[in-house]
């Protein structure tokens, strides 16, 4: 996909480029990567990022387990993934080189900090020889810049000691990359000034090193090609910002609360990779957002249920292990028929699993993982920016249908960022919860329903004349009193299911992209959209007849799901688990025969690998 970079002395135009910054987890690679992606977006490129960091906050310095990476894909046109392999790898130490060489091609340019390749550094990274390049069989073009020493030299007169000066070495690397890609530094400087607005001397030091890194590239590496990725597609007019999935999710909830005219309440307990949602919403007090950092996951969910009972748009954010703990409380919201948004930023499991890596392994847990017949709504966000719409829709459905909604995102889209056109809220639909009205008061019962949607009405404490009692015990369909009657339980069980099924009438039909007469339908869901769509594009460019149905609504499924799945000769369900969506589809669509593509590696799909697999299926007789 990426153009081969030849060893020529000129500026080359590229359609798209992938840069991977890697170094020790204390080396500031996330910041360097973030600034580079942001300034590329400002220059009109499309961006998609992938922070790939270890679970340890500070593993021993220089070791393999301490390597942190940040990959950014920038494109002249739209890009859908953070890229399979990188065109430029920045490796700040031998450990970073060793763990990230797998993400390069023979044409990738590698930038290293030659100062950090001493014998001791090599030993820490478990090299057995003194020549890491031969040892790793690397024949790439390497820019070996003495980054550490030049960083120290650059700040010699700043008054900073060596240790403090070296904290800026990520900026030297960034400056070098900016030179390589013809990126003017103004926006990066602006970002640094903002980030360190309270410490102007640090901002100044970083800007100085950034500039020196750029100049170093310009002065000494005139023999290396530099690249230009110009914006080629006229983007929709408007104001843009860059968001990661967790931020977009946070904003989506705020937007829904504004639309509904309700206060937003978040009950949460810190857990990787979902914690940023708590951070983000805690900051938004000027918008009236209430956040409670609870004593545990259970309390996160329970306080949200209490807030929902009391009339808020209530949400709780977590990752898989937290969902296990919240399950009983989620079921309370199911039987009490209260609106609640539960966000699961999926990570590798089971148990503590791979906290910082991404998977789609909580799908069956979301749909079925509670005691009793416990239907609820499950929505899966498809990209960092789609988290906004998905969170908005999750809240809208929860409030209008008086039900818990589980929103599945994942570590990849939650931490990955993309350019996002700031939406105008007038383009978003109204949210109208089914409040009780004064004329209902006579004889009103809390489980009285709308006969079409089967949604019960919402009477919020404080409202005179509508006092009522909810609870986890089964209730009588007519009187709303506690009931253990056999027929009634059957009726209530069916009613709760039908209420969820009805929501299929309120969500969009499933869209199919690609060829109308495709021989293979690719089916995916949630955060793998970018990779599956890119695979579709590659295969179409090769003249193959393929289509993609990428699901955002899982429970209930869109109304046309069966029709779509029956229409194509071959269907492959590709997901980052061992076949959970395939299992659901088989149970919902009788006689469905699907191929599966499953990877549980904690890493994003690889587009070329997808193309290979899908092509094999396509060609299979």
């Amino acid at each position: 996909m990426n153009k081969v970079m030849a060893d020529e002395m000129k500026v080359k135009d590229l359609e798209r480029v992938v840069v991977r910054f890697s170094g020790d987890s204390g080396d500031g690679m996330q910041l360097a990567g973030n600034i580079f992606s942001n300034l590329s977006a400002v220059l009109g490129n499309d961006i998609s990022t992938f922070p790939d960091y270890p679970a340890e906050i500070r593993a021993p310095q220089g070791t393999l387990s301490g390597v942190s990476g940040f990959q950014v894909h920038i494109g002249a046109k739209k890009v859908f993934t953070s890229g399979d392999k990188c065109d430029v790898l920045v490796a700040m130490n031998p450990a970073a080189l060793k763990t990230n060489i797998q993400f390069t091609t023979p044409q990738s340019v590698i930038i290293i900090d030659s100062d950090s390749f001493t014998k001791k550094d090599l030993e820490k990274a478990l090299y057995t020889t003194n020549d890491p390049f031969t040892e790793l069989n690397i024949h790439n073009q390497v820019i070996d810049a003495p980054i550490s020493s030049m960083c120290k030299d650059s700040l010699k007169e700043s008054g900073l000691d060596n240790k403090a000066a070296l904290r800026s070495k990520n900026m030297f690397a960034l400056g070098l990359v900016c030179w390589l890609f013809n990126r003017p530094l103004e926006h990066a400087m602006h970002m640094l000034q903002n980030k360190f607005s309270k410490k102007p001397s640090i901002a100044e030091a970083n800007i100085k090193v950034l500039t020196d890194g750029y100049n170093y590239g310009h002065n000494t590496h005139a023999t290396v090609s530099t690249y230009r990725v110009e914006s080629k597609e006229q983007r929709e007019k408007g104001f843009y910002t860059d968001v990661n999935g967790n931020l977009a999710t946070s904003y989506g909830l705020v937007a829904a609360a504004e639309k509904a005219g309700l206060p937003l309440f978040l009950g949460s307990y810190p857990i990787t990779p979902a914690t940023d949602i708590l951070h983000n919403l805690s900051k938004l007090k000027e918008l009236g957002v209430i956040t409670v950092q609870c004593e545990d996951e259970i309390s996160g969910c329970c306080s949200a249920i209490g807030a929902s009972f009391a009339g808020c748009l209530a949400a709780t954010s977590t990752s898989g292990p937290g969902i296990c703990l919240k399950s009983e409380a989620i079921n309370l919201a199911v039987i009490a028929e209260l609106p609640l948004v539960i966000i699961n930023v999926q990570r590798g499991g089971p148990s503590t699993g791979l906290p910082t890596k991404s998977e789609q392994t909580d799908l069956l847990q979301a749909v079925y993982g509670r005691n009793g017949e416990s239907p609820l709504v499950v929505i899966a966000a498809t990209s960092p920016t789609n988290c906004f719409d998905s969170a908005f829709m999750a809240a809208k459905i929860a409030l209008e249908h008086m039900t818990p909604v589980i929103l599945l995102t994942d570590g990849y889209i939650a931490n990955g960022s993309a350019a996002w056109k700031i939406p105008s809220m007038k383009d978003y639909p109204a949210i109208k919860p089914p409040y009780v009205t004064p004329e209902m008061q006579e004889g009103w019962k809390p489980y009285q329903r709308d006969l079409e949607s089967l949604v019960r009405y919402w009477a919020i404490p404080g409202k005179e004349g509508f006092q009522h009692r909810l609870g986890g015990l089964e209730k009588d369909y007519d009187t709303s009193a506690i009931s253990t009657d056999a027929e009634n339980h059957q009726k209530m069980t069916i009613t709760r299911q039908e209420k969820i099924n009805y929501i299929a009438n309120c969500i969009p039909e499933q869209e199919v992209l690609g060829d109308k007469d495709a021989e293979l339908l690719i089916v995916g869901w949630g955060g793998t959209y970018g990779h599956l769509y890119s695979a579709l594009e590659v295969m179409q460019a090769q003249g193959k007849k393929v289509a993609l149905a990428h699901f955002q609504y899982i429970s209930p499924l869109p109304k046309n799901t069966t029709e779509i799945l029956k229409k194509y000769k071959k269907v492959v369900v590709a997901e980052q688990n061992m076949g959970q969506f395939a299992t659901i589809l088989r149970s919902k669509v009788p006689g469905l025969n699907v191929y599966q593509f499953n990877r549980v590696k904690g890493q994003p799909f690889n587009v070329l690998r997808l193309v290979e697999e899908f092509t094999k299926i396509l060609e299979e007789k």
Binding site: K237, Y240, L287, I290, C294, C302, A304, F309, R469, G471
Partner: protein, 337 residues
Amino acid sequence: MSELEFASKDFKSDQYVRWCPGCGDHALLNSLHKAMAELGIAPHNIAVISGIGCSSRLPYYMNTYGFHTIHGRAAAIATGVKVANPELSVWQISGDGDALAIGGNHFIHVLRRNVNINIVLLNNQIYGLTKGQYSPTSPRGFVSKSSPYGTIEDPFRPVELTFGARGHFFGRCVDVDGAASVEVLVASAKHKGTSVVEVLQNCVIFNDGSQSTVATKADRAKNAIYLKQGQPMIFGENNEYGLMQEGFGIKIVKIGENGITEKDLLVHDAHCEDSTLQMKLALMEGPDFPIALGVIRDVESPSYDECVHAQIEEVRAKKKDHSLEDLLMQGEIWEVK
């Protein structure tokens, strides 16, 4: 709101009360109805939240807003209710198992945060709804279905947990002692912050007689002391005994003997920030000491829910963006023309 007048019946629901005949919960329910009438808060401004257990059925018998939730979680749910709408009078009804075993974590944290809710802790020292297992407040050696040879663990004493979690209000009453219960419940509701009222409750089926030393008026005169703010600590069938401080402890004295008069006795101060003496009083037990009843600790302190909203108001006053669109336009943005 306080100008409205309510009667007990305004707080009663039409549901048939299903506790066992003779259960202490009946009496407490009556006292709660009376306390709410006395407080003068309209039923629609009250939310009663419970967990699971015999006593947790209570919300169904209230004509207020109510939520019978899941085991142990009432404090967490009540926290959400109160923070969402501090205008509501929020009550948590829990048993000793609900609040102190499965819900122990939420119990200590709601106290630490000081959410303005009123916890009514019905302590019968037994699991009733699951038919007779020992609870975290059952005494060591207690024989039950799950401890046929007696328990080999020490119980929690609710006051120690409450004070250990920095609780600012602790009261105690006996289920059948209506007037005193109403008084304590009213005081707990008027206290701003988390209040805990331990109700010494009899389970007629699985732990009958557990409160026998304080079951009747005569028993209480002998074996209990009613603590009253600013009053000397006097008890006994003929008010003949008093409490005095002795070194680090408390001793019982007979008034009139050895020249001791009422003036020598300890005077109750529930408002004292230092909880040392309040703790000593609350931990007194028979047969050597009377059981302390009434409002034992009642100290003013900022409540969590009011602070949540005060902080929001403070930030709102400082920052101008009050809508998401405003906020986004103030961030790191660029324009595509």
